[in-house]
Amino acid sequence: MNELLFPRYFKQAGEDGVIFCMHGPMSQETIEMLEEALKKRVTQEQSDSGQTRRVFAIFVEQVQNIIRYSEDRVFAPMGSGELGAGMVIVGHKEGHFFVSCGNLIKTVDQPRLEQQLLTIQDMDREQLRTYCKQRGRSEPMAGSRGAGLGLIEMARQSSNFSFCFSPWDESLTLFAIQVII
């Protein structure tokens, strides 16, 4: 730990337009604590209230996905709810906000998730709308612990998104998604 990390991180964060970055265990409490701070910072950057709502909405969906689906589980003290570890970055670059997050998943779950993302990515607004309702009225899909609507919701509130999977170890894969608002 002799190298001072700060100069490197500071320069990189500036170049990437990072407003906010958090790494490690996250819980519902994390979202609630950050709500006001995040909204204030986004409003400072651009005072459009619709944009602020969208950034927060996508932030909630992403962090709740980390809490529910990250394979990196953390022991939670009694009463503090579930904890999942991952990373989330909110930034503003070239006139657009972005919310980017990632967490470890089981490698065997990759094909199912990838297929779902490709399906959503191919849809136009009207198709997303129909799909959202259809999924809202059906039982959650296998492996889903929420309503299974989070990814659709992110697609609806954003202008586009991209994702990637990188091998981590023999059984885990790092999944990351970047949503542009």
Binding site: S49, G50, R53, R54, A57, V60, G81, E82, R135, G150
Partner: protein, 135 residues
């Protein structure tokens, strides 16, 4: 029946179901960790209430400034339940979806909820700002 009242938290709405007045009101944000668990007693009360309501005009007001994707499912289920309750004409159900006038997503969601309902009256009510309160 007793009234059903829950105070708002940062991530859950105030719920105020007044039995004698036949009014149901949700006010605030909805992004709790476990949505199904949070709304379970809400639906339990509502189901019991709808089973016994007869010849009433039931007013349902929603002032939801933000909701997450699992709450979207809950609201869809809620409206379906109310629509079903109004089907036989025994009771009249009027739902008002109050949204901040410059929140286009909330308006869009309101329109979406509305288009599937056949037996209730569903009003989209723009309000001046997110802090506007029902009177």
């Amino acid at each position: 029946m007793k009234d059903f009242i829950l105070a708002a938290t940062q991530s859950s709405p105030e719920v105020e179901f007044l039995y004698a007045q036949n009014t149901l009101c949700f006010r605030g944000k909805s992004y709790v960790e476990n949505t199904a668990q949070f709304y379970e007693p809400v639906f339990a009360w509502l189901t019991e209430y709808l089973a016994q309501a007869n010849g009433q005009t039931i007013a349902v007001h929603l002032f939801i400034v933000y909701f997450n994707s699992s709450s979207f499912k809950v609201f869809m289920n809620l409206f379906d339940l109310l629509d079903e309750a109004a089907r036989d004409g025994r009771n009249r159900v009027i739902i008002s979806w109050h949204y901040d006038a410059d929140d286009d997503m909330s308006q869009e969601y309101g329109e979406e909820f509305k288009e599937d309902l056949r037996h209730v009256t569903f009003n989209l009510v723009p309000t001046a700002g997110p802090e506007t309160r029902a009177t």
